[in-house]
Subunit: 189 residues, 2 copies
């Protein structure tokens, strides 16, 4: 018998997404988002939810583009800082010592320090309540060579992405492999 | 200098969501979804993306409700099985030995074996391409007492949820705490 905890946003795991945008005068900015992820395989799309009060909200509406960087163990301090400071008050890239790179395909920047980055063009905007959901089409993925496996694809144990626990506001590491998809369940077929 | 990997759905981590629905004759069904997560804090909403060809697609359209169970290390075989078999061909609950429980607030079932479950009422449907995004308002969260911390909230290290690596189709464990949110970044303020 389960206990009822009420209507709450208790889902695990969530990612730690670094949403990169340009402000009105071209200052690069980053936001820390846990509400987001892949939402379509073809065309490849990603969603990030942003409060209307955020600097990033105006930036995405204006430029119709954003990037999504994957925060990892090596960048946990920078990733958390991005979620505390506001781009209206400070140049977060400069304050955190992050290296600004202009997107190749979209009008949005990213930080070189995040090992995996998605360049996204805004496709849909959905007002849900306190958050607005922005859906971007992924036009390119960029990766550091150091995180690629022998097959040329990103290796999660090399990326070491942060796993966010919303209930206790904790950033966790990714642990060991516990099963292979499309394989572990075959014994029940 | 990063390498370009093209337009692909390479984002980590993603969750392993067990989407519970009723079929046309009332047979309970489960789908394994990695494309989904929280998308609004108030009203609390969750998104799951489903291909139109899936049994779950028709079920959500018909009943306008679904549940989201969190798959964990203890249920990795069942969770993967759910992603291999189709509810059109087999009663997945029966085949996997899962215990069917009717949702308390919505017209959808869940499996008792998943330690954390969200009951959701369909709010929005967005056709994106090969996937359709369903957004549900979370009307209740149900949790096993064994996964609750001393503060009464779910403890990620007790849940032991699966972390999915889409590039290499691997289910991973959650690792140790590497930083506290709204705290680790203060040294850069």
């Amino acid at each position: 018998m389960k206990q009822s905890l009420g209507a709450r946003t208790l889902l695990v795991p969530t990612p730690v997404l670094m949403v990169g945008t340009y402000g009105p005068t071209g200052t690069p900015n980053l936001m820390n988002a846990a509400w987001g992820g892949i939402c379509c395989s073809d065309p490849p799309c990603v969603t990030v939810s942003v409060r209307t009060s955020r600097h990033t909200y105006d930036n995405i509406v204006q430029r119709k583009a954003f990037t999504v960087g994957i925060a990892n163990e090596a960048t946990v301090v920078e990733a958390d800082y991005v979620g505390i400071a506001s781009g209206r008050d400070v140049d977060k890239f400069a304050a955190a010592g992050l290296t600004h790179v202009a997107g190749e395909h979209v009008d949005a920047p990213y930080a070189a320090e995040f090992p995996l980055v998605l360049e996204c063009r805004l496709r849909h905007t959905l007002e849900l309540g306190i958050h607005t959901q922005f859906i971007g089409e992924i036009v390119d993925v960029k990766a550091d060579e150091a995180i690629l496996g022998e097959d040329g694809l990103p290796d999660i144990l090399k990326i070491r992405p942060l796993v966010y626990d919303t209930a206790h506001k904790g950033y966790h590491a990714v642990g060991q492999l516990v099963g292979k998809a499309f394989s572990a369940g075959k014994k029940l077929l």
